[in-house]
């Protein structure tokens, strides 16, 4: 149960965590992605601006040179005064002068690594060059080198010359390797116009792309990123791996994105910017950012390893995972700890349950529950039953016999469980103790009430029905302290049986009001009449619909019991319990079910008149009893003798001068003792008061009286006389079987 709860909690916790973790990571990635985009774009712009600026400068100085400002500068500076390549005022300088101008120019513009000027063949016709005149000055390590290109090759066919000349527009040639140093050079060509805008040649400026490369290297928006620059035909101008320089990216594996994605190629060809996710194999994804440089149609690209982009996120992921794992572990430990605690609690609960069970056994042990309750008595049949709703209950019943009187009680303590059961135990022992001293139910109940009410901090109380049944005659005294009305079974005059609620006077429950005056009532049970006591666990037993069993059903069950072969007190109780159980069905027993059935079986009574004629009847009666108890012949002889003597004695002396007066002889078997009571309503006469005659005297002196009572004394175990308050003589004789 708890393990399931723990499992579910951990599961839910894990799901919640994974969800939170996932969304956090997702958001973090988004954030990082945006930041990376921004940083990389900044880097792209930086490189782009730088390159563009450099190119701009080249273009600027080219136009400066063409505008003639340069020549005038030269003139102003060194006073040479005649050199001008202003196309508008073009006068043809000598080859030497052209070289001087170019060298001077290159010295003044350190970022220009080479400058060339080529002329159409109609100029400088007397040049040494086979292909016409073209002056080229390069700066190599601070030294200017002059080359007359017309002596080397047909420069008119070279791109730098041809394209500018053909289009008559400024033109950026494809970068090329400056062979002497392996540096990549970009070349800007401008057509030269003479008088009347006649195209007379091309001016070209070289710029070393090293600075671009340095700039590219400088820019590292993301560690491990590769910044590269390609020309408009996608030849590499700058790349951290110098072996790629001037190779076309379609031939370089590194540019697999360009190779594999048509849309990327298309975008780059159209000089658009953007980024593209490149999958280069496991854990080698990269983001490929690209942007054009409009001036030359070049493209700047930055490839960033995804691994590096999301390094922070990955780190966060790792840290969070570790924290999560630790949290899970902690949670598990907590659950483990809790589980152990709960187990411990369950263990102590088990101990408590066991103690309660012991308490229940002790409590049940106090209730009389050996049946038949009085195997040695024929005058009473009793059966008590207590079925606790919880382990220990607050119901009780008890009974015992003292001095021929049957003391009994049934009670229902308020509440349930241990407190009720302790209360019940106290009540039971008080009942036993108090009943030793009085046989008046009202007095017993009053004493119980005072003992309880005197010190009752928890205001517990107990309803109780308590009675004292005189087994000699069925006289019943009882007191009802707020308890359910007993059911009685009576014989009607016509011999039929009537079962009904006795509805006795109801006193207040025990424990409520100290000093309350309880009242007893009395009744007489005839032979075979019974009283049935119960607690509300019977009448208020619930079925599954929460409907109570009820008084009527209880009464009916008792009335039906006999028809269902119930004979003994136990049969009746069992029948009622079965009926209640059947009624309750699967409903849980909500209250203690307690029942106490008492049947007064009565005792055999022989009613005689005080006439000697009746003596044989007594003998016959005794013979019959002797058979019941298997009395041996010699004992029967003695019994006959003693009883006859005693009865005759009563007949002779109880009613002086009267005849036809009653002499009742009752018999009871208690244990192994036959108990006879000779009852008459005559004058007080105690035969035991007479002394035995002296049996040592001579025959002549022997008295004739006193022999009878002497025989009685000698034969019987005990002989006792009692004059009752209602004017009876009661002579009780016992004989051991």
């Amino acid at each position: 149960m708890f393990a399931n709860l723990a499992f579910v909690t951990i599961l839910v916790g894990t799901i919640v965590f994974i969800f939170g973790f996932g969304s956090t990571i997702y958001l973090a990635r988004q954030e990082v992605q945006e930041e990376t985009d921004m940083m990389v774009n900044q880097a792209v712009n930086l490189v782009g601006n730088f390159v563009d600026g450099q190119l701009q400068r080249v273009e600027d100085v080219a136009y400066t040179l063409l505008s003639g400002k340069f020549s005038s500068t030269i003139r102003d500076d060194d006073g040479m005064g005649f050199v001008s390549i202003d196309p508008k005022a073009f006068s043809i300088p000598s080859e030497e002068e052209v070289f001087d101008i170019l060298e001077h120019f290159i010295n003044s513009n350190p970022h220009i690594c080479g400058v060339a000027i080529g002329f159409e063949p109609f100029l400088y016709t007397d040049t040494k060059g086979e292909y016409g005149f073209s002056a080229y000055v390069t700066n190599v390590s601070g030294n200017n080198e002059r080359l007359s290109l017309g002596e080397l090759h047909d420069f008119h066919q070279k791109e730098w010359y041809k394209e500018a000349y053909k289009t008559n527009k400024p033109y950026w040639s494809r970068p090329f390797a400056e062979t002497s140093k392996g540096e990549v050079v970009a070349c800007f060509s401008v057509p030269l116009h003479g008088i009347g805008d006649r195209l007379i040649g091309v001016l070209a400026l070289d710029i070393n792309t090293d600075s671009f490369r340095r700039k590219c290297d400088e820019v590292t928006p993301i560690p491990g990123c590769e910044v590269s620059l390609v020309d408009r035909e996608f030849n590499v101008i700058s790349h951290p791996d110098s072996s790629y320089i001037l190779k076309n990216i379609s031939e370089i594996d590194q540019y697999s994105a360009y190779q594999s994605s048509d849309s990327l190629r298309d975008k780059m060809t159209k000089h658009q910017s953007g980024h593209y996710l490149v999958n280069k194999g496991t854990r080698r994804e990269a983001m490929f950012y690209f942007a054009p440089i409009e001036r030359t149609g070049w493209t700047i690209s930055i490839e960033c390893p995804i691994r590096e982009i999301y390094k922070g996120v990955t780190h966060m992921k790792r840290v969070t995972s570790v924290i999560a794992a630790l949290s899970m572990l902690f949670m598990l430990l907590c659950f483990g700890f809790l589980f152990m605690r709960i187990q411990k609690i369950s263990t102590s609960k088990a101990v408590m349950d066991r103690d309660l069970m012991i308490a229940s056994h002790l409590q049940m042990g106090m209730l009389p529950k050996l049946y038949p309750a009085f195997p040695d008595r024929k005058d009473i049949d009793v059966y008590g039953f207590l079925k606790p709703a919880k382990t220990v209950g607050g119901d009780l019943y008890d009974y015992f016999i003292r001095d021929g009187k049957f003391f009994f009680c049934i009670g229902d303590v308020s509440g349930k469980g241990v407190p009720a059961s302790l209360f019940m135990v106290v009540l039971r022992s008080l009942f036993r103790n108090i009943s030793l001293h009085t046989d008046d139910p009202a007095e017993i109940v009053s004493s119980l009430n005072n003992a309880i009410a005197e010190n009752n901090p928890n205001n517990m109380f107990c309803t109780m029905f308590l009675g004292v049944l005189d087994l000699k005659n069925g006289h019943l005294d009882y007191c009802n302290a707020g308890h359910n009305s007993p059911v009685v079974r009576r014989k009607k005059a016509d011999g039929s049986v009537d079962v009904y609620f006795a509805n006795p006077k109801v006193n207040i429950a025990i424990g409520v009001f100290e000093g309350f005056e309880y009242e007893s009532e009395e009744a007489v049970l005839a032979e075979g009449e019974a009283i049935f006591l119960y607690t509300d666990g019977v009448t208020e037993a619930e079925n599954l619909n929460k409907i109570l069993f009820g008084d009527d059903a209880t009464l009916k069950a008792l009335a039906d019991a006999r028809a269902n072969n119930a004979r003994s007190a136990k049969d009746f109780v069992d029948y009622v319990y079965e009926t209640v159980k059947k009624y309750a069905g699967d409903a849980e027993q909500s209250d203690d079910i307690t029942m106490l059935a008492i049947e007064y079986k009565g005792i055999p009574v022989l009613h005689l008149k005080n006439n000697i004629e009746n003596v044989p009847t007594l003998a016959e009666w005794l013979d019959m009893l002797a058979k019941e108890v298997n009395l041996p012949e010699d004992k029967l002889f003695n019994l006959n003798l003693a009883m006859e003597e005693a009865v005759v004695n009563v007949m002779n002396y109880a009613y002086p001068g009267q005849e036809g007066m009653p002499v009742d002889i009752s018999y009871n078997l208690i244990g192994n003792q036959l108990v006879f009571v000779i009852d008459d309503q005559g004058v007080p006469f105690d035969p035991t008061a007479h002394k035995d005659p002296d049996i040592t005297l001579d025959a002549m002196d022997r008295p004739v009286g006193g022999l009878g009572i002497m025989l009685v004394r000698k034969i019987m175990e005990t002989v006792s006389y009692e004059r009752t308050p209602d004017g009876h003589n009661r002579l009780t004789l016992t004989m051991n079987i």
Partner: protein, 100 residues
């Protein structure tokens, strides 16, 4: 309760049969009057048939014994059952009679 009396010479035999209880004792008192008259002789009571005796019966036996003593005869009990004998013993009557 029956009593049959036979006289042979100096010996008078009374044969008892049945229960000598209180009720029977009334009749027995009358039945034994011939024996009391002949109490100067040797009276033998055959008690083999005596099933029961109560104090009333004992009193009659004592009456007979007293008469015998007064008239110089004696009373002998014959064939007394242990139960009846026990009654005599309890009451001390065993010392008043001869038992055979």
């Amino acid at each position: 309760m029956n009593l049959i009396i036979n006289e042979t010479g100096n010996v008078v035999t009374g044969t008892l049969e049945g229960r000598l209880d209180t009720l029977a004792a009334t009749q027995f008192a009358k039945d034994m009057e011939p024996l009391i008259e002949k109490a100067d002789k040797n009276i033998v009571l055959d008690c083999a048939g005596l099933e029961f005796i109560s104090s009333s019966g004992l009193r009659l036996f004592l009456t007979l014994r007293k008469a015998a003593t007064a008239k110089g005869g004696n009373v002998t009990l014959k064939g007394v059952s242990p139960s009846v004998k026990q009654v005599f013993t309890i009451t001390g009557f065993n010392s008043l009679f001869n038992f055979e």
